[in-house]
């Protein structure tokens, strides 16, 4: 143990803090670094998918595969930036941005009916048929003033979700 042999200098910490828009305190960044080193067992500088999947709690999350695509192979700076949406200091806009990115898997800036269906499929598995999913989505979209053919952009997500009272916070254990 003790992979954190490459210690973080003050300069490194400040650089990381800047990159994540000061959403984590310096102590939290140090704690995240030791966690990063713990997960990155072979000290490659990034955490592979396999190493993420060895966290049982992560592995059994229905959205683990989508998140893996976003977080696989990130270096520490980007890893902290990825997690910054979950900081208690993050604004609702930043959280909604994160959610948008999860939906927008190909990064084109728009979410189609197909993307919504895919995420719903991840969340419900085999317990809802494809027709049921399409029906549900179609129904709620129409009620909200959209249709199956509409494309949702970030502004739409902002409109829909900003009243939802998002609770998306994670506590970084600082010893």
């Amino acid at each position: 143990m003790g992979n954190a042999s490459a210690m973080l200098t003050q300069y490194d910490i400040e650089e990381v803090q800047d990159h994540c828009n000061y959403l984590f305190s310096q102590q939290e960044i140090v704690a995240l670094y030791s966690r990063f080193c713990q997960l990155d067992r072979t000290a490659k500088g990034f955490i592979s998918s396999d190493e993420f999947l060895s966290i049982p709690e992560f592995s059994l999350n229905p959205l683990s595969q989508r998140l893996l695509k976003m977080v696989d192979g990130l270096n520490f700076k980007d890893f902290v930036a990825f997690l910054s949406a979950f900081s208690p200091q993050a604004t609702t806009q930043q959280k909604i941005e994160f959610i948008f990115k999860v939906y927008d898997a190909d990064g084109k800036g728009r979410v189609t009916f197909k993307d919504l269906l895919e995420v719903l499929r991840d969340l419900t598995g085999s317990f809802m048929s494809e027709e049921q999913r399409e029906k549900v989505l179609g129904q709620v979209l129409e009620e909200a003033g959209y249709s199956r053919e509409s494309t949702l952009y970030f502004e739409d997500f902002m409109k829909i979700l900003s009243k939802a009272g998002l609770k998306m916070e994670v506590e970084v254990p600082v010893d």
Binding site: L39, E57, M128, L161, V170, E171, P173
Partner: protein
């Protein structure tokens, strides 16, 4: 819907566990990321649900998807104000809002209770000042240079042999020589008188373990009555390293259940430990379980067999936590005698991180530190209570051991170190979500 998770309106009941508003999700593992001492009712409730599910999922062999879990009624942990059962109409924002799932995933990335069990803490550097550093250097010289010197020097002269008597490797080497000198003749020559042979072999193994313990300057305090040799009893202990077995064996010759290892350890397993009646298993073979279960049962019936020692965690844990106990040892219908082992970390960290070091390296590390200090408590034999199922019995015994040794309990199966969690757990979450969506859809 399955009895276990609740019926009729309970998806939302569990969903309500997590926060005051009604998300569509029931999160099983709990919102808090640390292993906390003080928890709210909601969190206890959701953790209990998690434990129930995980306990029910248990081992990962195809044969072992148990469906026989009955835990104490979870409703007693949910206070009425947290249960708001009003299903509201479904909106687009509800479907789009995946924040609970994302929070769980991020929380698992940041800190999870499973990896914590296998973390060996690097010791704090205490020697970096002008006064302590020379002392530390002296200590290194003594530990590596005097306590641990190579055993080849005893070949040189008798006087060196005597000086090495005080040195660890020398002690160990001498011990092995004496052991084999006595063991081999006894094992091969005394064929007819089995009872005597086994008695002598038992004593020899005990002696060899004492030599091992002496070679690391083990200071071990035993509390409680010594185990007695009776049929229909099984000993269970928490597991930190293979030396647990040696420490316990020093006092009483146990028959232990061990993973088959390669190398010199495997050789010792085959030759010596078979004589005390040890049973081997192989984690990677799924059919292995039934074979081992049969062997265990036979062993406990036999009158003259050594008492059986089982480590129900199934893997080495870092002596701060206990992972879930496998129920195999608890469904034999005999007395279960718990043994709690706690190492004192000030002297050496006895946790054997089998992914990071081989057993030889681990032993060498032990032999080059000052001492191995630990406490062993033999606790009162437990019997399964009427109406209790083996998993509950296992949890009760785990409670006893954890309390006695000051360890925290974690609701994970130790085998997750080697295997991925069963997809059934993910499916459970999906099922809850799907059903609540469909239900809310019907609300007008």
């Amino acid at each position: 819907m399955n009895q276990r998770v609740g019926t009729d309106s309970s998806p939302l009941r569990f969903a309500a566990c997590e926060s005051a508003s009604i998300p569509l999700f029931a999160t099983f593992i709990g919102a808090r990321r640390r292993a906390p001492p003080a928890r709210t009712h909601r969190q206890i409730g959701s953790q209990l649900v998690g434990r129930r599910i995980l306990a029910a999922m248990g081992g990962l062999d195809s044969s072992s998807m148990e469906t026989d879990l009955d835990r104490p009624n979870i409703e007693e942990y949910l206070t009425t104000e947290t249960i708001r059962e009003v299903p509201k109409k479904l909106h687009l924002s509800d479907l789009l809002d995946i924040s609970p799932t994302l929070t769980e995933a991020a929380g698992a990335i940041v800190d999870d209770s499973f990896t914590r069990c296998f973390k060996s803490n690097s010791p704090e550097p205490w020697n970096w000042n002008i006064y302590l550093f020379p002392l530390w250097c002296l200590g290194v010289v003594v530990r590596y240079g005097i306590l641990f010197p190579a055993s080849f020097s005893w070949l040189v002269s008798l006087s060196n042999l005597i000086s090495c008597m005080f040195c660890r490797v020398g002690v160990l080497a001498l011990g092995w020589i004496v052991f084999f000198a006595a063991f081999l003749p006894v094992h091969f020559l005394i064929r007819g008188h089995d009872k005597w042979r086994r008695k002598i072999e038992r004593k020899l193994v005990e002696m060899m373990c004492s030599v091992f313990v002496a070679s690391w300057t083990g200071v071990i305090k035993y509390h409680g009555p010594r185990p007695s040799r009776r049929p229909q009893q099984v000993f269970v202990a928490n597991h930190t390293s293979m030396i647990d077995f040696i420490i316990l064996e020093q006092m009483t010759a146990f028959a232990v259940i061990m993973q088959k290892h390669p190398g010199w350890v495997g050789f010792i397993q085959k030759t010596i430990l078979e004589s005390v009646g040890c049973i081997w298993f192989n984690r990677t073979e799924s059919k292995d379980r039934e074979v081992v279960a049969t062997k265990i049962r036979e062993h406990t019936q036999g009158v003259d067999n050594n008492p059986l020692l089982i480590f129900p965690e199934g893997t080495c844990v870092n002596n701060h936590y206990t992972v879930m106990f496998k129920k195999g040892a608890f469904e034999l219908g005999c007395a279960v005698c718990p043994v709690a082992i706690k190492y004192n970390k000030i002297f050496v960290d006895a946790f054997w991180n089998s992914k990071k070091q081989s057993f030889t390296t681990h032993l060498a590390q032990l032999m080059t530190s000052w001492a191995v200090v630990c406490d062993v408590w033999y606790l009162e034999p437990q019997y399964i209570r009427p109406g209790e199922i083996p998993i509950e019995f296992a949890e009760r015994v785990r409670d006893m051991i954890s309390v006695r040794a000051g360890l925290k309990k974690v609701p994970w199966d130790g085998y997750l170190k080697y295997f991925r969690p069963s997809p059934k757990l993910t499916e459970r979450k999906q099922q809850i979500f799907a059903e609540s969506v469909l239900k809310r859809l019907e609300e007008k």
